[in-house]
């Protein structure tokens, strides 16, 4: 588990990151979201032990970021925004060098390198010089050095920026797979990345946390209510009766679907599983088949932008 507490970094007396706190559980992917210059990179650099915080600390599975930095560095993988590559090395010898630097035991090095090459789909480039690789492959080699040795914490700074859609999709797969063994924090300003990858997000602006929480359709709503869309088979009147007798807290809107056999019901109620399960039971008891249950898609982008614009 990673626990970040009041991390602050100043440059020339000006706070770049101010009192950032968040927690991360094992196996979670945390999206670190914010506009350019928000302090994302500085926070990741602090967690990667590349720069020291002025105050505050972070604990990685009981180890202190400042006090035990050498031990922490054995447990992290870091991919800066520009992949840190030795251009003159071949991919395999680069990864072997990294394995040695990471202190992976000698007998495990070869296997760890080969496994990582396979995981990052760079087998066909393993004998190529890094300086001659395309941008997409360079990014993958950069990611490969970060995930090499299955670190407990993976820190990725804008890992998918300026990649083409196919490469982005592959990078996502690699990151998702890596999250099985590591906690992942990745920074991005691309909102689609958050939707595709993250369990939780931390929104940061001007060095301060604006929002943090789980990323699902409900948690970002600031009214504490849940919205669903149901597709039901049955008569409008019967459905209306069930819904109106269920709970006074429930707002609904019924619209017939074009073919006339089913209806679409938009629901809004307090964010509670009990109301939702009770309602579905009532519908089934009234012999109204539930064809579809879907959260009402909120515009994530709009919601995030709203947080970003707030001062």
């Amino acid at each position: 588990m990673l626990s970040v507490k009041n991390l602050t970094k100043k440059i020339d007396g000006r706070p770049i990151v101010e009192n950032i706190s968040f927690d991360l559980e094992n196996g979670e992917i945390l999206g670190f979201v914010g506009p350019n210059g928000a302090g994302k990179t500085t926070t990741l650099r602090m967690l990667a032990c590349c720069t020291a915080p002025h105050s505050g600390t972070a604990q990685l599975n009981g180890l202190d970021l400042v006090r035990d930095d050498l031990e922490i560095r054995k447990r992290i993988g870091y991919l800066p925004e520009v992949p840190p590559l030795y251009e003159y090395m071949k991919v395999r010898s680069y990864l072997t060098t990294i394995a040695r630097l990471k202190g992976i035991p000698k007998i495990e090095q070869k296997m760890a390198v080969e496994r990582t090459i396979e995981r990052c789909y760079i087998g066909d480039m393993a004998k190529r010089e890094i300086g001659k690789l395309s941008k997409g492959y360079r990014q993958r080699v950069g990611l490969a050095q970060a995930i090499l040795g299955d670190p407990e914490l993976l820190l990725l700074d804008e890992p998918t920026s300026s990649l083409d859609p196919g490469q982005i999709s592959e990078m996502r797969d690699i990151i998702r797979e890596a999250s099985g063994k590591s906690m992942v924090i990745f920074s991005t300003h691309i909102l689609q990345e958050i939707q595709h990858l993250c369990d939780r997000i931390v929104l940061i602006k001007n060095g301060k946390v604006r929002y943090q929480g789980r990323l699902d359709q409900y948690s970002l709503a600031d009214d504490g209510r849940r919205s669903l869309v149901l597709k039901l088979k049955g008569k409008t009147q019967a459905i209306e009766t069930v819904l109106s007798t269920h709970s006074s807290d429930l707002n609904f809107d019924i619209k017939p679907v074009k073919n006339g056999e089913s209806v679409k019901v938009s629901l809004n109620f307090s964010d509670s599983d009990e109301i939702q399960t009770g309602l579905l039971k009532d519908l089934l008891h009234a012999n109204i088949p539930v064809l579809e249950v879907a959260p009402l898609a909120k515009d994530l982008e709009q919601t995030i932008l709203q947080y970003m614009r707030s001062e």
Partner: protein, 234 residues
């Protein structure tokens, strides 16, 4: 430390640096050696050592210019900072790799002994002490280069900066002889690296010279460490 050392040594022999610096060093110092041997007809290497020290003023910066500049420019210094390697070990690995290249150059120059032994009866005392002297001077140059390389991400600036400092340290003894500068009461003679080579090539192991050269090496090595420490923790 060993991993950094290995990586740096690999880089020297992957890049053209080793293949340029070693032959250039051997060719030019060999030219001056044979020139003085032919004209002076004395089985000694004292001139050769002097010429080697001057030549290294220009070649040592080439050896050291990329040690930290390249890491800063390509962003791999961040990578090394995030690895379980201390700044001290990182610097030591880099320093020793450059010292190894220096060692290879000096070992190569042992070939000069062949004509000395074949055609003369050299006194080996001054030769071995001369080698000790040039090795200590070379490590001192490398340490200066390591420090300057930590200051910039531009390799050319690193090389030129190192050359400037080394030339100053070599020729500073002559500054004291300028009448206009007599009022500066500094031991220019002692500060100058060239002063300390004299005893070594004469076959003397001067304790104060060894301490001075090692101290100068330690000073610039320490400054490089401080520079990286500030960059990381400052």
């Amino acid at each position: 430390m060993l991993n950094i050392y290995r990586k740096e040594l690999f880089n020297y022999f992957w890049s053209p640096i080793a293949y340029i610096v070693i032959p250039v060093f051997l060719f030019i110092s060999g030219y001056f050696f044979s020139f003085s041997l032919y004209y002076l007809k004395v089985a000694t290497m004292s001139n050769a050592f002097h010429n080697m020290a001057i030549l290294l003023l220009l070649l040592a910066p080439v050896i050291t210019m990329r040690l930290l500049s390249e890491e800063q420019k390509s962003g791999t210094l961040e990578l090394l900072f995030s690895m379980p390697v201390s700044i001290g070990n990182m610097l030591l690995g880099k320093f020793l790799s450059a010292v190894t290249l220096l060692g290879i150059m000096l070992l190569g120059s042992l070939i000069f002994l062949i004509p000395l032994i074949t055609f003369g009866d050299p006194d080996f005392g001054p030769i071995w002490t001369g080698y000790l002297g040039i090795f200590l001077i070379g490590t001192c140059y490398i340490s200066v280069g390591l420090f300057v390389s930590s200051l910039t991400e531009n390799q050319i600036v690193a090389a030129l900066g190192t050359t400037a400092i080394l030339i100053l340290l070599w020729f500073i003894r002559y500054i004291g002889s300028f009448e206009a500068l007599q009022f500066i009461n500094l031991p220019f003679e002692f500060i100058s690296i060239s002063t300390h080579q004299g005893d070594f090539v004469r076959g003397l192991i001067n304790f104060s010279s060894i301490v001075y050269l090692l101290s100068l090496t330690g000073l610039f090595y320490g400054l490089a460490w401080l520079r990286l420490h500030i960059r990381r923790y400052g």
